[in-house]
């Protein structure tokens, strides 16, 4: 199935929860969906006979600019039917939250923790959402565009960017 067909399929099934289809200017054709509905959509993509998206290749956060919203990107593949789709959700800077898919694709467990660790996006329903790379007592989310590096960490100096 082509990405266009998958988008049409999702649109029929989920209506206005499926927001947009982006083909121009993106590396992969991408379906933008509602952040709250992502778990339902991924479940449908996994279980449907014609889609069979059984594997999550990647899950990543993205912060384009201090003015814009955060986004989370999902790369799904069907190892049976050999087709791909990229999903994208947007979430606000002030209260970033996205439904977790860790119970649907186990791959998402650590990927969501990493995204939480570096962007501070809360994945609601994640079984164990805590930092994975940075120390537990680390303050701030380093990959946010408005992140300001701390001067000290546990008494160790972090040199200021000059």
């Amino acid at each position: 199935m082509t990405e266009q067909e998958i988008y049409a399929n999702l649109s029929r099934k989920f209506g206005d929860k499926v927001i947009e289809f982006m083909e121009e200017g993106t590396h992969n054709p991408t379906v933008v969906v509602d952040a709250g509905a992502i778990a339902k959509i991924v479940t449908y993509l996994k279980d449907d006979e014609k889609l069979q998206f059984d594997s999550l290749m990647n899950l990543a956060g993205h912060d384009a600019d201090v003015e814009t919203e955060f986004s989370v990107i999902y790369h799904l593949v069907s190892t049976e039917l050999k087709h791909y789709i990229t999903l994208k959700v947007f979430t606000s800077r002030d209260e970033p939250k996205v439904a977790s898919i860790a119970n649907i694709h186990r791959t998402a467990d650590w990927h969501e923790r990493e995204t939480f660790d570096l962007y501070g996006i809360n994945f609601e329903g994640h079984p164990d959402l805590k930092r994975i790379l940075m120390e537990d007592d680390w303050e701030g989310y380093p990959l946010r565009k408005d992140y300001v590096p701390a001067e000290f960490y546990r008494g160790m100096r972090i040199e200021k960017v000059k």
């Binding site: 790379l133 120390e135 380093p142 960490y153 546990r154 160790m156 100096r157 972090i158 040199e159």
Partner: protein, 163 residues
């Protein structure tokens, strides 16, 4: 040893205890076996057959209790820095530190935007020898170890240290 020379049979050498201790110490630089980044690959290569660190008496130990030298081979992240410091404190005296490569020396490529990297391992533990390079070749590590041997041989052990 002046007047005592040639007074004994063959196979008897006369030296000072300091020199003997330093000689034996410098001939067994057992280093702590851990690596932090790509420098560790060069360290492993230095230990393997082609460069063979053991001909200098240097061999890897997997416990800090048995190690004499800590080779900080790679990027010291702030998270790892706390562990490196603790491991250093667990080593028995006398202990030495070799800072291998740009990252351990000064933060290297993470100097400017490395929010998570310690800018030089000498901020947390005392360093005896710095080896430049990114990463240094095994020959450079061997030279570093030989510099450390030289330092060890010149160290007073029993003689009172001059203030």
């Amino acid at each position: 040893m002046g007047a005592l020379n040639h007074k004994f049979n063959e196979n008897i050498l006369i030296t000072s205890l300091d020199k003997l201790l330093n000689w034996s110490r410098s001939g067994s630089e057992w280093y702590f076996q851990f690596g932090l980044a790509c420098c560790a690959i060069e360290m492993m290569s230095a230990a393997a057959a082609r460069h063979d660190l053991e001909r200098f008496g240097a061999m890897p130990r997997s416990s800090p209790r048995q190690a004499d030298v800590m080779i900080v081979a790679g990027t010291v992240t702030l998270k790892m820095a706390t562990r490196v410091k603790r491991l250093y404190e667990q080593m028995a005296e006398p202990k030495y530190v070799i800072s291998m490569g740009s990252c351990a020396n000064s933060g290297g490529p993470y100097w400017q935007h490395g929010y998570h990297v310690l800018k030089g391992v000498d901020q947390i533990i005392p360093v005896d020898v710095y080896i430049p390079g990114c990463p240094p070749r095994p020959e450079a590590l061997i030279e570093g170890l030989m510099h450390l041997q030289k330092k060890m041989r010149e160290e007073p052990v029993l003689a009172k240290k001059e203030d």
